[in-house]
Amino acid sequence: MQLREILGKYPKTEDYLIEILLDYQKTKIHHYLSEEELKEIAEHLNISESKVSSVMTFYTLFSMKPKGQYVIQICHDVPCYVNDQNSILKTLTNLLNIQVGETTEDKMFTLEYTSCLGACDKAPAMRIGEKTFTALTPNKVKAILAEYRGKKHA
C-alpha cells in the first residue's frame, strides 16, 4: 500500500503518528521506514522530522534499518526463562547461524528479543511477524523454521 493511502486513512493530527507508523511499517517487506518516508510523514502531519524520529527510536517495534523478511522475536523474561527458553534460543541461533540482533545473509530472518508476549502460561514463546508460537521445544522450532523457509520457495 502506498504511504499516501495510509496517511489518508487517519485524521491529520499528530496523535495518530504511532498508528500511521505501525500501519505503514506493516506493509514493508523489510519492516523499516526510510528517511524519505519519515520526512513525508512529518510534512503531512506538520511536525518536525526530529519529532517523528524520536518516536521511531523510542518504541522497539519501529525500525529505521531494514530487517529480514521474517522477524523472529523470542521472549526472554522470567516465565519463559524458567521454562528452558535457553534451548530455544540455542536452536534458533544454530539453525539460522546468526546471533540475536542479526539478520541472515539471505535477508530472510532477523532474530531479536522481545518483551513479554503475555503467553507465559504456554512458555516458552516467540513471535514471527504477528503470529505467536507457544510451548516451544527445539523440534517444534525446527519445524516452524522449515515451514517459513518453504514459504520462500513456494
Binding site: 496523535d15 524520536s54 518504541y59 517495534l61 524458567v82 521454562n83 507465559c120 512458555a123
Partner: protein, 419 residues
C-alpha cells in the same frame, strides 16, 4: 470452591466476536440499569463496593471517579490501560480476547457516572489478536447504540477509540501512556497535577486497568454492598491471577481475595512439575518481590502485600523450582528494566547500569562485601528517588531477595574467586 468465576464467567461460553452472545448472556443489562441511576448514586455504589484498582497500585476506584466528576471541562477523557507489559501477566489479554464487551460496558458506566466524553483503549502493540477483537467489539457496540450519540436514548454521548502501543514497557505507567496516546515518546510527567486534573491533551482524564473496568457491571448488577461481601474486608471482589513458571497447570484463575498463594499454586496450579522442589515465587511480575516457599500461606490481599513495600501488583504469580539460580533470575529482571528505562531521570537510567554490573559480580562469583553494601544502598536509592513507578518498583525484587535469600549473597561472597 477455590475459584469464583465472575469476570471470567463468560470465557469459552460466548463468541468474543459476537455482541449478540454477550447480550444473550446478561451483557449490557448493567449499563441499562446505570443509565436510569443518578450519577452520584453510581459512584456511591462503587464506594460501597470498596473496589480498588486492579492494575497494580490498588487505589480506591471511586476517589478517582469522583475527582473526574468534580472537574469542570468541556472535554473529559476515560482511558482503559490495556498496556499489559509486566512480564508474567496475561490476564488482561484473556479478558480482552475472551469477553471484550465486559470492559467496554464498564467504561461506558464509568464515563456516564463521571462525565467523560471520550474514551480510549490503549492496547500494547504485541497483542495483535486483542487489538483486532477490541476494534471489532467497539464497532459492534456503536452499531447497536451502546456507543456514540444519545446512548440507548439516554441523551448521553460517549465514544471509544482503540489505540495501539509500539513496544515500550514504561507506557503502562499512566502519564507515559497519555504521552503515547498523544503520539509522543512515552516518557512520564512530573506529578502533581494528577491525570484527573490535567491528563490527556491537558484535559481531565480517568485511567483504569482493563480488569478494574470489568468489575463495574457486576457492582451495578448486585449493589456495592453485596460486592463488598466477596473477598476480605480490605480487598473486595475477585482477582484474576496469571499463574506461570514451573507449574503443572499454568493459566488465568479468578479467585476471591483472601485465598492463599499456596491454594493457588498447589490446588489450582497442581504444584511444581516432576516432583521438584519449589525454590522461590515472584509476585506481581518483574517488579514484584521474590519470596521463599515458607511464605506461601500469605493471603492474596492488598493490605498483606503492602508488608513487602510492594503492592499486590496485577496478580502474577511466577513459580521457580530449585534448578534456578537466584542471580541468573535477578540478572534477567535488571536487564529487562535497564532496557525499558525511558532515560528521563538519573536514578533509573544510571542505576540500572550499575545494578546489572553488581548482579553480574554475584553471578560470576566475583563479589565482595563492599558489592553487597553498594547493591543494597543503590537499590534503595532507586526505589526512593526514581521519578515514576518503573524505577521505584524495579529494585523491589532485588531488595526482597536481600532479605529472604541473604545467605545466597553471603555464600557468593565467601566463594568469590574460589571456583
Amino acid at each position: 470452591m477455590l475459584e469464583k468465576k465472575m469476570l471470567t464467567k463468560r470465557f469459552g461460553i460466548v463468541n468474543p466476536l459476537s455482541i449478540k452472545d454477550y447480550i444473550d448472556n446478561g451483557g449490557y443489562i448493567s449499563l441499562r440499569k446505570a443509565l436510569t441511576m443518578e450519577k452520584i448514586t453510581i459512584i456511591d455504589e462503587i464506594e460501597n463496593s470498596k473496589l480498588r484498582g486492579r492494575g497494580g497500585a490498588g487505589f480506591p476506584v471511586h476517589i478517582k471517579m469522583l475527582s473526574l466528576a468534580k472537574e469542570v471541562s468541556d472535554v473529559k477523557y476515560l482511558v482503559n490501560n490495556a498496556d499489559e507489559g509486566e512480564p508474567g501477566n496475561f490476564k488482561d489479554r484473556a479478558l480482552l480476547e475472551n469477553d471484550p464487551h465486559l470492559t467496554i460496558e464498564g467504561m461506558i458506566i464509568s464515563a456516564y457516572a463521571s462525565g467523560a466524553t471520550k474514551g480510549y483503549i490503549y492496547i500494547r502493540g504485541e497483542y495483535n489478536r486483542a487489538i483486532s477483537i477490541m476494534k471489532w467489539a467497539v464497532d459492534q457496540a456503536r452499531d447497536m447504540g451502546y456507543l456514540g450519540e444519545n446512548i440507548l436514548d439516554s441523551g448521553f454521548d460517549f465514544d471509544i477509540e482503540v489505540r495501539t502501543g509500539a513496544g515500550a514497557y514504561v507506557v503502562g505507567e499512566e502519564f507515559a501512556l497519555l504521552e503515547s496516546i498523544e503520539g509522543k515518546a512515552g516518557r512520564t510527567r512530573v506529578k502533581p497535577p494528577f491525570p484527573t486534573e490535567r491528563g490527556l491533551f491537558g484535559k481531565p482524564t480517568l485511567i483504569n486497568n482493563v480488569e478494574t473496568f470489568c468489575n463495574l457491571p457486576f457492582i451495578i448488577e448486585m449493589s456495592g454492598k453485596s460486592f463488598a461481601k466477596i473477598g476480605t474486608p480490605s480487598s473486595t471482589g475477585t482477582k484474576l491471577i496469571s499463574l506461570s513458571g514451573n507449574i503443572n497447570n499454568p493459566g488465568v484463575y479468578e479467585v476471591p481475595f483472601g485465598v492463599t498463594l499456596r491454594d493457588v499454586i498447589d490446588t489450582l496450579g497442581g504444584g511444581v512439575p516432576e516432583s521438584r522442589k519449589l525454590k522461590m515465587v515472584q509476585l506481581g511480575g518483574a517488579c514484584g518481590p521474590i519470596i521463599p516457599e515458607f511464605m506461601l500461606d500469605l493471603k492474596i490481599d492488598y493490605d498483606r502485600f503492602e508488608d513487602f513495600e510492594s503492592k499486590t501488583g496485577a496478580g502474577a504469580i511466577i513459580v521457580m523450582d530449585d534448578r534456578h539460580n537466584l542471580f541468573e533470575v535477578l540478572l534477567r529482571i535488571v536487564e529487562f528494566f535497564g532496557h525499558e528505562s525511558c532515560g528521563k531521570c538519573t536514578p533509573c537510567r544510571e542505576g540500572h547500569i550499575q545494578l546489572e554490573y553488581l548482579v553480574k559480580k554475584f553471578l560470576y562469583n566475583e563479589s565482595t562485601p563492599k558489592d553487597l553494601f553498594s547493591l543494597e544502598s543503590l537499590a534503595r536509592v532507586m526505589h526512593q528517588t526514581s521519578l515514576c513507578g518503573l524505577g521505584q518498583s524495579s529494585p523491589i525484587s532485588l531488595i526482597s531477595t536481600l532479605g529472604y535469600f541473604r545467605d545466597e549473597y553471603h555464600n557468593r561472597i565467601e566463594f568469590a574467586g574460589k571456583e
